[in-house]
Amino acid sequence: MSSSPDKLVYMANQIGKFFHSQGHDRAVQGISEHIWKFWDPRMRKQIFAHLDTGGAGLDPDVLDALQKLKQQA
């Protein structure tokens, strides 16, 4: 597994699962902040590119968080 969309989607969903129990709004905030703080720009670029093609496989909270992050970027 290289840092293909599959792996990044997996990582993003893993982050999402931690925040999920905090409710949608806090989860979206937490996920987007986490990815912004810890992911290198090329990883963010790749996941945004995946988002543009529909974001297959991303959990709902994660999808919302990435969309929010992308708008801020």
Partner: protein, 958 residues
Amino acid sequence: MSLIQEIDFGTPKSKSEAMVTLTIDGNQITVPEGTSIMRAAMEAGTQIPKLCATDMVDAFGSCRLCLVEIEGRAGTPASCTTPVMPGLVVHTQSDRLKKLRKGVMELYISDHPLDCLTCAANGDCELQDMAGAVGLRDVRYGYEGENHVFAKSHGCENDSWMPKDESNPYFTYDPSKCIVCSRCVRACEEVQGTFALTISGRGFESRVSPGMSESFLGSECVSCGACVQACPTATLTEKSVIEIGQPEHSVVTTCAYCGVGCAFKAEMRGEEVVRMVPWKDGKANRGHSCVKGRFAWGYTTHKERILKPMIRERIEDPWQEVSWDEALNFAAAKFKGIQQKYGRDAVGGITSSRCTNEETYLVQKLIRAGFGNNNVDTCARVCHSPTGYGLSQTFGTSAGTQDFDSVEDTDVVLIIGANPASAHPVFASRLKKRLRQGAKLIVIDPRRTEMVESPHVKALHLPLMPGTNVAVLTALAHVIVTEGLVDEAFVRERCDWSEFADWAAFVAELKHSPEATAIMTGVDPQALREAARIYATGGNGAIYYGLGVTEHSQGSTTVIAIANLAMVTGNIGRPGVGVNPLRGQNNVQGSCDMGSFPHELPGYRHISGDAVREQFEAMWNVKLNNEPGLRIPNMFDAAIEGTFMGLYVQGEDILQSDPNTKHVVAALSAMECVIVHDLFLNETANYAHVFLPGSTFLEKDGTFTNAERRIQRVRKVMTPLNGYADWEVTILLAKAMGFEMKYNHPSEIMDEIAALTPTFTGVSYARLDELGSVQWPCNEKAPEGTPVMHIDGFVRGKGKFIITEYIATDERTGPRYPLLLTTGRILSQYNVGAQTRRTENVVWHAEDRLEIHPHDAEQRGVRDGDWVRLASRAGETTLRAEITDRVAPGVVYTTFHHPDTQANVITTDFSDWATNCPEYKVTAVQISPSNGPSDWQKAYDEQARHSRRIAPVVEAAE
């Protein structure tokens, strides 16, 4: 320089605050209640003769040499066992005492060889000193009678004589020189806590006996060296002293093995180390040591050390030895070429948790300022990165909360996913001492570790299935909340109450109860409830944890769950309590503090913060990138993808230590230039293009920061064999890259760190020399450092409770891989073994073994010692089996100290959700009998052999 002579006060210090005044030899002395007369006299400068007393162990009163007279009392009491009393009038010298002492010494010497001139203890023998002190001039009894000294007497075999025991690789036991003071026996019991030694026989037949009259190596002895240190004669002597002679000067320095950070005196003769002796004033170790720090330093001069720089174009080529200039210019040209071709972000580096703070700081500075990106990471990524994340989220600091002394005030110890007896042995000894005094112990670990059962220690053991930490810790919280054991006053005062309420409602749900989670965790609900009650109500509760917590897909969640437990029970902010990560390597804490993570500058400040970044930009005179860089696993992914092509690795062996070896091999192979800066041609070097020889901790100045946040000096005792200390090499590499860094001495690097990092502003080499060590934060608010954190409130303000939902790892067992593999360490080996495998420590652990339960072994037809094939979804390897019920059915265990085992061929790509810390501790595997090494192992070995060739230097013909 001279030999540091530590004062031996004869008996331990009393902790009492009540003071007592007495008169010794006409001088009034005031000492704490409970002090012995011997110690009181020594504190006043009077050394009462003694043999069986030493201040590392309790008074024993057997040698009868320390007799004194006390006015108004009959007889001549032993000063070591007689406590001070108000108004006592003591005389340490009188005609009667002189006569008695001389008589005692005469008896001792009548059964002791008189080979002082050729004795290894010559110059360091307390028996000799005491003979001198009491004025012994004659031994009237002669040596004709019964004795332990001579192999033959009157032409016959002497049955009382015993030959030397040379079985231990580091020290010799010569029974003929033993005076049976039992200092060694008591050191083994009281200091080390192993109880390997005893006195066998009675009266004249008394002998020091390892185990049941076994050899030292064959006994339970763990070779910590406490007995050797305690021995007043040449009975127990370091083989290095026997070989070299007595040292002539010594320098205090810090051990380069685990995160305990023991202070040692490097006892030297010229530039040769004679021995390493634990320093009593070392605040982490208090005069104790383990087999690694005390004895396993031979790697520093091992013949396999690479001392000349080497380069090669392709990894298939043999290495070419070149000058430093050529190697550095080659490396710089490669890196600059890569950056031109693939972009500025295509290179990066890994700082070492074995190197000093100053060296680590320079490597991250080189990357951020010289390379112009933030692609810097460190081995903490694969061990304690979840600690950093979890504790900073909940408490506000990325570090443990206590000092090691704190354990002396602890009533309940909760150990989670750690085996200090093997991995942090000196701390384990201090902990066991407290347990023998009555503190309770709870151990949460899949294995019945050495901590669970040891002499006079019995733990409440919760053997959980690997990967279910969060479920177990949340169940503990469930019991505390639902049984009304919450320290509400603490939570209301120190924590955010509404976050607490949310969290309490979450953990109180029935699905988090011990009964409901037992099916996943395998933990007996009653035992779990009992553990929760003990921790919450048993007095000062302290949590110590290790990589069994962090190296999981929910590593960060587990750290948060631990912090929640400490907060809900009010076990934070005073001595005896707290949350204490046991750090793996000597300077993991330091490397994290020094800005080794890609997203944060020194002092844990995010790279995107303009104000902080601008301070660094002003000091470094360069514009910094404000985006986080790649973490180690991300670097590997990016290499395979083709966007990350150059890596500078200082003092780490990522190929052996990182998970999924095949993936790491693919990544390293894809890179165009790998620079390895190390002592040895390690596994990573098989894929390197530049090798820069490293220096050992004995060859440089600097500081290490241990698991207590304690900053301690590392002092140079010999010239670097490779020519340069590592910090100098980084400066030279930076210069070759066109980035100048000017420092004349590591103290100047520390001054820069202090100027830029708020928690370090009070740290300087002068301060460290003055205080011995300091624990950060050390600044205007805490000029002498901070032993216990969060005393009046959390660093982040209010303590933050965070919900910890248990999410099972995706690494699951199934029909093809029905067993769970977990990994750990053994006492005698360290990390990837690069150092310890190059010492005599291999006598204890020559290979990694697979521990398997008898039930699982029988099902597969595996017998003890058989070769077995260990296969996971990632790969397979072979090693030999050890059948034991230390592991539960369904769980297997191995260590990862030997490269030919290749334990990480088996481990997978799964990692912690927050930090990408790999999930080493859970891998689904299958075991089957095997005939020997796997194809992968053979191919790997062949590649390694091929890759390690060094081209012969061709001398030009005249």
